[in-house]
């Protein structure tokens, strides 16, 4: 059950990242055309968009982990207040290993999600891109 929820959440996240990057590429079509006119190669454009995706994934993962830690503490406190069962250990436990796995997983998914938008940006033809961006 938990694995299924996690898979769906990961898929939604990947689709969200792809959508954000595609929108960003669309909005900057003219800019990408100019960069190509100035001498940027396919790989250079691909790298710019891909690195941007990596940053989005890394920022999202960091923010998500911070929210998870805060959320776990609040949940722990709420459970203790509601259910006085005499347990002294943490009821909701987030280990450093889990956080690192989440961050690395999000970065991997982000890199995967960035391939298609980055390839689309890299394949833009300069004249059409500049014209569309005006």
């Amino acid at each position: 059950m938990v694995a299924a929820v996690a898979t769906i959440a990961a898929l939604v996240a990947v689709i969200g990242v792809i959508n954000s990057i595609l929108t960003s590429v669309h909005e900057r079509t003219g800019e990408i055309g100019v960069l190509k006119a100035l001498g940027a190669g396919r790989w250079q454009i691909f790298r710019v968009v891909w690195i941007e995706t990596l940053w989005i994934a890394l920022s999202g993962a960091t923010a998500g982990c911070l929210l998870a830690v805060v959320g776990a503490r609040l949940t722990d406190a709420a459970l203790r207040r509601l259910l006085n069962i005499g347990v002294t250990q943490s009821l909701v436990r987030i280990t450093p290993g889990l956080l690192w796995t989440a961050i690395l997983g999000a970065v991997a998914l982000g890199l995967l999600a960035g391939v298609w938008p980055a390839a689309r940006a890299a394949a833009l033809r300069p004249v059409a891109a500049i014209r569309n961006g005006e």
Binding site: G30, E31, V34, L35, K36, A37, L38, G39, A40, G41, R42, Q44, R125, P126, V127, I130, E134
Partner: protein
């Protein structure tokens, strides 16, 4: 003027035809053209006459549907986009009517961009040299939004010149500027042509600017009219 015999750009029978619905548009219809180092060539013509199409083809930004094009003695028609990028890098500089500066970068970073694409480390002295040449050395740390239209076009010229191009393409470079600013911008082009022996290909509707070029040609319906 130090004009050289071998043209930097030589186009023969350049055509650009494409389909729009059931009709064939002849954006360019058999143009022969040569541009030499140290020469300024102005392309005139009404809107839709093929000026921008011709500049796009000469600058290897677009491919002709027929005809031959040689840049610095090398045939480039029929090359793949990857090879065209290599042709443009270092050989060509571009100045656009809408300036097309990257808004999130500073003036100096905008100017340094073509150097990065060439794989060179952005040398601050190169950037400073061209910014000084266009009179904007004191604006290096500013963002494009903090500049006037004329200043933005000066930055675009500095960006084009930083790689020491052999040919400079300017599509309606003064179209968004008032008359005196346009004249000042053309002074910069003229200096690049005379001092650095660069070939300049420029499109404009401004007859006064055209008169300042070494040669001009008029396009009409995709053909040279005179």
């Amino acid at each position: 003027m130090k004009m050289q015999d071998d043209p930097v750009i030589r186009g023969r029978g350049l055509r650009k035809h494409y389909r729009r619905g059931s009709e064939t548009v002849r954006a360019l219809d058999g143009v022969d053209i040569e541009v030499r180092a140290g020469e300024s060539l102005c392309i005139l013509g009404p809107s839709g006459s093929g000026k921008t199409t011709l500049v796009n083809i000469l600058s290897a930004l677009d491919a002709p549907t027929a005809g031959t094009l040689a840049v610095a003695g090398r045939r480039v028609d029929g090359l793949a986009e990857r090879e065209l990028v290599a042709v443009r890098r270092g050989v060509m500089g571009f100045v656009f009517q809408q300036f097309h500066l990257i808004p999130t970068l500073t003036v100096a970073e905008n100017v340094a961009l073509p150097l990065l694409f060439l794989g060179r480390r952005a040398n601050p002295s190169d950037v400073e040299r061209v910014l000084r040449a266009v009179g904007l050395a004191d604006r290096a740390g500013h963002r494009p939004r903090e500049l006037s239209g004329g200043q933005m076009q000066r930055v675009a010229i500095a960006r084009a010149l930083v790689v020491h191009p052999r040919v400079l393409f300017a599509d309606e470079p003064t179209g968004n500027l008032d008359g005196s600013t346009g004249d000042a911008i053309f002074d910069l082009f003229e200096r690049a042509v005379r001092q650095d022996n660069i070939a300049l290909v420029l499109t404009t509707h401004n007859l006064a600017l055209a008169a300042r070029c070494d040669r001009s040609l008029t396009l009409r319906d995709g053909r040279i009219a005179d």
